[in-house]
């Protein structure tokens, strides 16, 4: 329970948040987060939308059988599952390697500074 209901900077009033926000370390952390999540979000939304449009307007193509009774539509649908699992794994790896250590360092600096 370190913050008040109103989030007024009492115990942590020592921080000038704008300065922290403009510090090179924090800007680098933000760049690392945004340069991963924004393009990735754009990518999976575009891929999902493409899939939806194909399922909606290209019935013949989607119904083409490829392997036995398994058709293009089913394969593309299953690939949506695969891409979701892959993006999840990639993000976790990125966060563990490139985001967490930096966030922890900044957090320790800020929380150490108030004591």
């Amino acid at each position: 329970m370190s913050t008040s209901e109103q989030h007024t900077p009492d115990a942590q009033g020592n921080h000038n948040w704008v300065d922290v926000q403009n510090s090179p370390d924090f800007r680098e952390l933000r760049r690392r987060l945004r340069s991963f999540v924004f393009p990735m979000a754009g990518l999976f939304l575009a891929w999902y939308l493409l899939y939806v449009l194909l399922a909606d307007y290209a019935h013949g193509f989607m119904s083409t059988k490829v392997l036995g009774n398994i058709n293009v539509g089913l394969i593309l649908g299953l690939l949506q599952f695969v891409s979701t699992f892959v993006i999840t794994t990639l993000y976790v790896r990125h966060a563990n390697k490139n985001l967490d250590p930096m966030a922890e360092k900044l957090r320790n600096e800020l929380e150490g500074g108030q004591a």
């Binding site: 924090f26 952390l29 398994i70 649908g77 299953l78 699992f85 993000y91």
Partner: protein, 529 residues
């Protein structure tokens, strides 16, 4: 059916007894608001991930999607893809930042750098609207399920069962709070996924573990898209609209957002979502087999004509595979699903009332007695439970499928734009947030009221009834069943316009919010017992 009904009730009774014991044991240390509303923030990522899966895989997901695949084939499968892909938004853009900046509710995050009272009122309004639509859909769905599983066809008998479900749900929430509710979700998720897994292996075994063989024994028209949404240009647009609401709605569902506060850190929130994505993804792959399995082994026609209609596909498949015992098990799991989801929704709505409205608006955040917030949350839960029981009884037998679509559309239109702007846009301000929440909510409800789901669908000559909610009137002018295609872009636009037309711009508060969101400085810690 009577012997089966007793068996079903017996198995369900065992589930209720076992979960009540767990809930009572879990509630022993519940004292503060953080204990009651956020389970002391002491769940691990994997535990919370399983609970999220339990919260998310509602009866609509389990019975609804398996049934939609059995009857509409590939078009049913499209639902599950939207429901799954949506989780990437929660993972990449929302979960961790939300965990770091809030305490109990969506309102915490939205109000962080805004004027507290108007924003919290707006956030609570949309939270309660989404929860209420969702809750009503689940409760009314329980009526149909009862008809199918217990052989109770009279309205009076069904009302009694709805009341029992509601009373049990109130008990879970009152006694267990968030901690007890989370354990119910976990137990239910494990049972649900295990049950679906056993049935999937069983079905696949009948077809030599060859998916192509299974697909070969269902009608060819079920394999390609278009059976449900391909008929006209309007229904194709409707499908795009639905797909948008599904993919953008999940990360705006308040009962899902609230789950991120039950873990100690942002990293655990991330792990929760990863677990949830794997479990939900695997579960939807199982429902694909169950849906086509039901089409092959039970038959689409028999499913459509059964009491409970499309929702009966999974239970009928269970009966065809393993007789009354497996039917009883799956029926009990289906009941447990409804019970767990309504409990999760109730605690979310009561948390929003107690925390956003009572503690922060009425008491202006100056609450002396910390236990008062818990007391108010408990009372609210009872009121919401009673409203849900009455609503469920009234809505029983109504066409309520649109309520879930409505909940997702409101979440995608009113909540998600506001959350994303709030977390990522420096300039965003109180006016923008109010415009996108109230604008999104208002437009969505307006478009639904004047859509074909409420009035004006053609009368089916076979039954003499229209598929709309109201019979014999037609005041619809919006052509689509799902408003998302219009309401989501409009809400983003309103949030933008509201922001730039207002001068307010709190740079310092945004700096604090962004630093805290990304680093976890000053984030709420787990309470130690």
């Amino acid at each position: 059916m009577n012997g089966n009904a007793l068996l079903n009730i017996g198995i369900f009774g065992i589930f209720v007894a076992a979960t009540l014991v767990v809930v009572i044991r879990a509630s022993r240390n519940t004292k503060t608001a953080a204990d009651y509303l956020a389970a002391g923030r002491a769940f691990t990522g994997p535990q919370n991930g399983i609970a999220i899966a339990g919260d998310y895989l509602s009866a609509a997901s389990f019975l609804g999607i398996a049934g939609a695949i059995a009857v509409n084939g590939y078009d049913g499968f499209l639902y599950s893809i939207g429901f799954l892909v949506a989780w990437l938004i929660a993972l990449l853009l929302v979960a961790e930042l939300l965990r770091n900046t809030g305490k109990f509710t969506m309102g915490d995050v939205l109000a962080f750098r805004m004027q507290q009272r108007p924003i919290r009122a707006a956030a609570a309004t949309s939270t309660m609207a989404v929860s209420f639509f969702y809750l009503l859909a689940q409760m009314a769905g329980a009526g149909g399920l009862v008809a199918l599983l217990l052989g109770i066809t009279g309205k009076g008998g069904q009302a009694v069962v709805i009341a029992v479900v509601g009373a049990l749900m109130i008990a879970y929430v009152l006694i267990g709070g968030m901690k007890g509710t989370t354990w119910v979700q976990i137990i239910k998720a494990v049972l649900l996924i295990a049950g679906a897994g056993v049935m999937t292996v069983w079905v696949m075994g009948k077809y030599g573990f060859n998916l192509s063989n299974l697909l070969g024994s269902v009608s060819d028209k079920l394999l390609g898209p278009g059976l449900q949404y391909g008929k006209t240009e309007t229904s194709k647009l409707d499908f795009i609209s639905l797909a948008l609401a599904l993919v953008l709605g999940t990360a705006g569902l308040p009962h899902i957002l609230m789950r991120f506060y039950t873990v100690p850190t942002a990293k655990e929130a991330r792990r929760s979502v990863v677990w949830a994505i794997w479990l939900i993804g695997i579960f939807y792959l199982l429902t694909l087999v169950l849906g086509y399995g039901a089409a092959a082994l039970v038959g689409s026609d028999k499913i459509t004509k059964a009491p409970g209609g499309v929702n009966s596909a999974a239970p009928l498949l269970a009966e065809a595979l393993g007789g009354p015992v497996l039917l009883g098990l799956i029926a009990a799991v289906a009941f447990a699903t409804i019970l767990a989801v309504v409990a999760g929704l109730t605690i979310t709505a009561s948390a929003s009332f107690a925390h956003d409205i009572y503690a922060n608006i009425i008491k202006k955040g100056q609450l002396e007695d910390k236990e008062a917030e818990v007391k108010v949350a408990r009372r609210t839960a009872v009121v919401i439970g009673i409203v849900a029981i009455l609503g469920g009884i009234l809505a029983n037998g109504q066409n309520i499928a649109f309520l879930v679509a409505l909940a997702f559309a409101v979440a995608a239109s009113a909540n998600l734009p506001t959350i994303l702007y709030s977390l990522f846009w420096k300039r965003f301000n109180t006016a923008g947030a109010l415009w996108s929440i109230y604008g999104g909510l208002g437009i969505t409800v307006l478009l639904i009221v004047f859509s074909p789901v409420v009035s004006g669908k053609p009368v089916n000559p076979a039954t003499g009834k229209s598929a709309s909610m109201l019979q014999g009137v037609d005041f619809h002018w919006f052509p689509l069943d799902n408003p998302g295609l219009v309401s989501i872009p409009l809400s983003f636009l309103l949030g933008y316009l509201g922001t730039i037309l207002s001068k307010e711009n709190n740079k310092e508060k945004y700096a604090e919010m962004e630093v805290r969101a990304l680093t976890g400085v000053g984030a709420e810690k787990a309470t130690a017992h």
